[in-house]
Subunit: 372 residues, 2 copies
């Protein structure tokens, strides 16, 4: 027994190391909790682990991860062992569940699984709120020990931290995205005729990026850059922005300055990590492959991938939308114009990606938009 328990402890330390390392390398919450569950089952030598989270809306516990079950398990948070631990916030060890009145036989009946013994530990978040329970079921060949309880409590504490960190980060990311969308809406609210333009450009840029197999992180930067590409228009006076007729040379120069403003404004934001290139992408959407664009007259691959993609989406959206001075172009006419502009105004791959997208969704046939 001493040897045995000693070995278990050695295994447990090693497992904790493996778990902690894994946590530090996985970002997706579901994979993380699945990993925590499977490692825990291995270390504690149990048949399965289940992580139940609490839904405050319905006051139910539901299986976020349930080893061996493909269907979600869901029940009232005032029922069963899990409900009892959830409410008391105290770990419960049962070496024979059949002797405990709280045991909810209905779940075994539904799943066909037979529960013999279990430890159920509360998952308590940093604000000291219980957010669920971690359950290990059916220790093989033995009873649960105090050390098993300690181990499960460590893992359940890790689970709480992990969930909280992911939730906090997601909440901040959501707020960041909301804020950018809100300011995009508010900029466009100045001119009802162009309202929705940036959102359409964002959608199309995403499709082009998909068809070009752009890396996920770069796609996220393109997403924000597309939403923000016209933000600099905030510095363009109403008299020019909303002018129904043709702009004078001076007025055009002022309007074109919006790209410069976009760059200046966005550069004041310390976009970090995968979003680092947002200001660059956003401020290059009027550059042209032949170097005749603005503001910097960049050529070919001097233009960033984001700049090339947003340029195509931007012109496409502008041509197919109604403007103060003309009716919208047809899809066929617009795509053919973009194809004509390949190598002069536009990047070849970006135009072909957009063409492929519209062919794939059945909006037109390849013959209608021929490419050399």
């Amino acid at each position: 027994m001493f040897f045995n328990s000693k070995n278990i402890e050695a295994i447990q330390l090693k497992s904790l190391l493996r778990i902690t390392r894994a946590i530090s390398h996985v970002r997706d919450l579901n994979s993380l909790i699945t990993l925590l569950a499977s490692e825990t089952s291995k270390v504690l030598d149990v048949e399965r682990s289940t992580v139940f989270l609490h839904s405050s809306k319905t006051d139910e516990l539901w299986s976020y991860v349930a080893e061996g079950e493909s269907e979600e398990i869901r029940f009232s948070a005032s029922h069963g062992i899990a409900g009892s631990v959830f409410r008391s916030e105290k770990t419960l060890v049962l070496n024979d569940v059949s002797k405990d009145q709280r045991f909810n036989k209905a779940i075994d009946k539904t799943t066909g699984f037979i529960t013999r013994n279990m430890i159920t530990a509360p998952i308590i978040n940093p604000s000291r709120v219980c957010i669920g329970v971690f359950q290990v079921i059916n220790k093989k060949d033995d009873n649960f020990t105090t050390k098993d309880v300690h181990f499960l409590e460590i893992v359940s504490s890790e689970t709480a931290v992990t969930i909280e960190n992911v939730r906090l980060l997601e909440s901040r990311e959501r707020m960041f995205e909301d804020l950018i969308k809100a300011l995009t809406v508010s900029i466009e609210a100045r001119d009802p005729l162009t309202a929705g333009h940036s959102f359409d450009v964002t959608f199309l840029s995403g499709k082009i990026a998909d068809y070009m197999n752009i890396d996920c992180d770069i796609k996220e930067a393109i997403y924000y850059a597309a939403l923000l590409h016209d933000y600099g228009k905030i510095a363009v006076p109403d008299s020019i922005l909303k002018k129904p007729g043709t702009l004078s040379e001076d007025e055009t120069a002022i309007l074109r300055k919006h790209v410069h403003h976009t760059k200046i404004i966005l550069s004041s934001i310390e976009f970090e990590g995968k979003l680092e290139q947002v200001p660059l992408f956003a401020s290059q959407h009027h550059e042209r492959i032949d170097g005749k664009g603005y503001p910097d007259g960049l050529k070919g691959d001097e233009i960033s991938i984001g700049g090339k993609i947003i340029a195509v989406a931007d012109v496409f959206e502008a041509l197919t939308a109604k403007r103060h001075y003309r009716e919208p172009y047809s899809l066929k006419k617009t795509l053919n114009l973009l194809i004509d502009g390949i190598g002069t105004q536009f990047d070849r791959k970006a135009v072909l990606a957009l063409r492929d997208y519209f062919i794939d969704i059945g909006k037109l046939s390849a013959e209608e938009v021929p490419v050399d």
Copy 2:
């Protein structure tokens, strides 16, 4: 020895539980790492633990937490045991440092501490970049064991995850704040005469909140609400916003709608947690205690604390700033006007807080701004 090692392991599991729980309840990075270091010293029975982080700018290792040292330790990342582990990214156990050529005696000379033995483990972040090393020094009465190494590697992995999570969250928070500042600047850029207004209102709101002992989380919401309080002006046409003369009744009505726009725009952002009240605070800065304000004509405590504070800061800033139609008011005149408005236009506590602030920084005496 068996008993001993068994006990150590039992202690280690319990300690890990304590550490993991502590991590889940502390948000401040320095406290967290300090806690990790002191717990590790206790469990491994060593004289001190040190966490060195790498500065990529200077390619140095510096002591983020150094038990027993009040001064920062800093040296080139290519020197000493720490530098060697940092570069190799492999844990190194030395039961007699004097036998290792890499050992940097200079640090002991500076600190007066005598290093006998140590384990140094790399701290590797989720992107698999080594960001520092975790060092435990001078095991009391014994040599280091493999289990000690496992334990230190777990702790150093925890350290990596913790640092990464805090950094990621801080990076998102910084970007969020930058974005809000950038849009505040860009809104105000439309009218040079009011540029800086929102930042001044934000600064003053912060001072008022300080003097009212407002809770830290509420203060953060007030901070963002103050930055954003005039964001709705984006929907007000240039012709009204920049009009030098008096506004007509209709124009005034349109200008006043900016509060409504602020509310609508901000409500589309899912402000969460401590920032939940940002839209509410921002859209109540023209309410009055006597119910004669707008947009909702709220009275007394129907107005949120944020609304009351920003209202005072907003009027103060407007009166002390130059406008199209008049010169700035003096500090004394402005504060006396605010004091006159207590109970009708303004909240008493908010006005007195602002008054106390200016008296404290010596801008005027209590006699110059008497209160009944």
